[in-house]
Symmetry: C2
Subunit: 503 residues, 2 copies
């Protein structure tokens, strides 16, 4: 059957047909049709949705998700034929039934996800089944290789190529802004792709965007890295492991993050950018994704194993994740905090310590620093100003202003200081509450929004002293953030006497 | 925020917002908003989809699935506010993590499915998790009660109220067309709601539609049943257990049919129509949903247990499901076969035997027939013409022509006779292949399409004798059915000598 096509900018991949055409084709809602661009002869298989008004008889409405590769223009004729039920559904069903997927079965599933043959509901079923039934390391390796193969890959002639990844969950984790220039200024390559915040207050890509554009193609990532040693770009703009974005969007509603999928997602991206040496930061503790150090070590050994299978030398840093890294949360606030370290050529506290520890591992792994000396070598790159110069080169090659200073980044203008209601010691902070307050204030979409945590666990505070300052660009957002602060109590202050037990 | 609303006839429940409005609200794709009809103050919570072209800035596009209860007219102002993540997602996540759901948790999930708060992907995750992790009988009871409470219910002052259900999978299973008039003509009430075919060649609702309209409300079902003793209507048109249709549509792509959900779905519908006595037909064997008699007995005991919890006396008939019931498959073909039995006031073979056995159990359970005498009592209702008169009354009250005869139903006109390629005995038939051939010929949407199986397992056949006749309303459909017949070999004919083993 030939229909005239219209395009609509919905991301979910489906075709809208009028029931008159669906009946002629003999397809019902959820069945699939094969679409062929008559000019290019390119074909895609997509699920059908029925609508009497959106799709009039004789016309088909394609979503942008479908048309990404089909590249039909509005008004073009397309050929539509009923398509067989994809075999990938049987393989997903096999995983639902507790089976172990082979490499070709994994390849069919990943390819049908990448090509939008599977609906969101079907992908969600796969993710749910893989989460519940688990995957053994062979299955994880297959998934990693197929996810990697679903998009573009980079390879560098110069070695080693370093990469760095942080498991999420800890607010204010802006260490990439320091780790990348430290590594690159040491003469190593580090083509860093990062994500935007999904449920956080700012992903590394959101932060870097305050300094320079972050949307580049895979070949631009390669060229820029070859020129200046490193980049900090948004992975979502490249076509590197594109299937990961689809999986993440299906995981989002139920917050499902299966171990096998998590491992595959991390290592596939490292392999795809041509990295051979990788440091992975695993924050552990209440409020992070990993409960404790023991679980962190299990994850570490799995990442190391999977890395080995893909030819990547992996080491992991199990880090303290019970409180924010540094004191600032929110785009401009975090960027300013990182720039200050480089500008002052000094710094103490969690941000500098953690950045140098993580960078130091990579420096030791690649032989740039002697074993046990990596963190000091990293700190030296900050002290001698090379890290700052390198970050400026990276900002410049990505199209930003290399002369930008920490002081140029603006916060606020609406602010509120949360005072301590009593004298005492900060016993703990709630990571999730701090993130939610920063988000309520407008982060990450409003770059000036966020918060500064003046008192971290273990620090003493006097009654009335400021615990945290909230910044917002809009007054009503500030009110919402204050309200959230009142109900969530993000900072616990107490005396040393926790309870008195009488006779 | 207030937006002007448009309605679009898509079944899936979501609201399309332009990113300008989504950003102002602070919601992203997959988040939820609360919608309020400004006239009625009725509110609904629905998932958000972003589109720049479908939804222009300042206007919201609601699907019909959302508007079912909201009842907004195009152009109306609606109030849109960001909604909290529904708690039901946490309960689904609990099931994903292997937890046992409480009654309130089950209620929240069922209510959010019924009210379209949950997306198809989220419901699919619930179904997948319940299938993999299973449900204990308490959870199944909660699900049954909540599914029942999700729609309208009927209660009769007169008792007993009989119901009948067949587990699907066997082609040609038109016994309801005989069982209902036998039961009703014996002075019992039987308000039978049936389904349309999903993957079959004709559901009971499809068959009955050849005789009379089948779309009625719950109160019409009650009134008609009180008048003539029974009805055969389409359950999908009533508002009885409406959540079942949503669950079924999510099960369809991966063919997931978890035991707990299956039990709940059957018993909820029986309880909702006010039935207190129920016979359930469980066909077993290759090609059916239940592998063998032992598994059939397990299912039977689960149905009896669940029935008891809901106050319904359940008995099950584990039946032979290895071949079609009767010889005809397809709407008019099956209806004619059933009418013939009633018109001839006689009949032998699987259709009459099975119908009388199933009806007989209900007659014995209600004391209408002595124990061991139910099937004979049922046969007597056919012989004395009461079953035929009752079916005519049922056809008439549903708005059909009570004078319709088997001979009035037309088949074809394009036919093809499949000959036996050798002399021998029919060793087996493939149920699924027979169904697929009937569907390829046009069944159930084309009432004259289908097939007649002239030779069933155990019968002898000569070379060239007709094994089956295929009927189609369109020539191209006949060709497709013939082609499918050639590739699937639905009827196996062999000699008694299966293999000769030499020295």
């Amino acid at each position: 059957m030939f229909l005239s096509a219209d395009i609509v900018d919905i991301t979910a991949p489906f075709i809208l047909l009028n029931s008159c055409d669906a009946n002629s084709l003999g397809v019902r809602e959820g069945d699939r049709v094969s679409l062929t661009n008559q000019k290019t002869k390119h074909s895609e298989i997509v699920p059908v949705t029925i609508s009497e008004t959106f799709a009039v008889c004789g016309r088909a409405l394609l979503t942008a998700g479908v048309n990404r590769d089909l590249m039909i223009s509005a008004g073009d004729e397309i050929e539509i034929l009923p398509a067989k039920r994809p075999a990938s559904l049987d393989f997903i069903r096999k995983k639902v039934d507790g089976g172990k997927l082979t490499r070709p079965e994994t390849a069919a599933i990943v390819s049908d996800i990448a090509n939008n043959v599977l609906s969101q509901a079907e992908v969600t079923s796969y993710i749910t089944a893989a989460y519940i039934n688990g995957m053994d390391m062979d299955e994880v390796e297959y998934l990693t290789r197929e996810m990697m193969a679903s998009g573009e890959t980079i390879s560098f002639s110069k070695k080693p190529v370093v990469d760095k990844h942080s498991i999420g969950g800890v607010p204010g984790n802006k260490i990439t802004l320091l780790v990348v220039p430290i590594i690159a200024s040491s003469g190593l390559l580090i083509p860093k792709t990062s994500s935007r915040a999904i449920t956080g207050a700012g992903g590394t890509a959101d932060l870097m965007e305050a300094l320079a554009p972050v949307a580049f193609s895979a070949s631009e990532v390669q060229q820029m890295t070859e020129k200046v040693g490193g980049v900090i770009v948004w992975g979502g703009a490249t076509n590197i492991v594109p299937v990961d974005d689809i999986l993440i969007s299906c995981e989002y509603p139920l917050k499902i993050n299966g171990r096998g999928k998590m491992l595959a997602s991390i290592i596939a991206k490292k392999a795809a950018v041509g990295s051979d040496t990788c440091v992975i930061d695993i924050p552990v503790g209440p409020g992070t994704k990993i409960a404790d150090e023991a679980e962190g070590k299990v994850l570490a050994s799995q990442l190391i194993d999977l890395g080995k299978r893909l030819g990547i030398k992996v080491e992991c840093a199990v880090t303290y994740g019970g409180a924010p890294i540094g004191r600032n949360i929110g785009v401009n606030l975090e960027v300013a905090e990182a720039l200050q370290v480089l500008e002052n050529k000094d710094g103490f506290g969690s941000l500098v310590q953690k950045s140098c520890a993580v960078a130091g591992i990579a420096l030791e792994m690649t032989g740039k620093a002697a074993v046990g000396n990596g963190a000091d070598f990293a700190m030296a790159q900050i002290r001698n100003g090379k890290a700052l110069s390198k970050l400026q080169e990276i900002i410049e090659i990505q199209g930003g202003d290399p002369k930008i200073k920490a002081a140029d980044l603006s916060f606020g203008p609406f602010t509120y200081e949360v005072p301590a209601s009593a004298e005492g010691i900060v016993l703990s902070v709630k990571n999730r509450a701090l993130i939610d307050i920063a988000r309520a204030a407008g982060s990450p979409s409003e770059h000036g929004a966020g918060l500064t945590l003046h008192k971290k666990p273990g620090e003493t505070v006097k009654k009335g002293e400021t615990l945290l300052t909230i910044y917002a660009e809009k007054e009503w957002r500030l009110s919402e953030a204050i309200e959230l602060c009142r109900t969530t109590h993000p900072v616990s202050v107490g005396g040393m006497l926790l309870s008195r037990v009488g006779l």
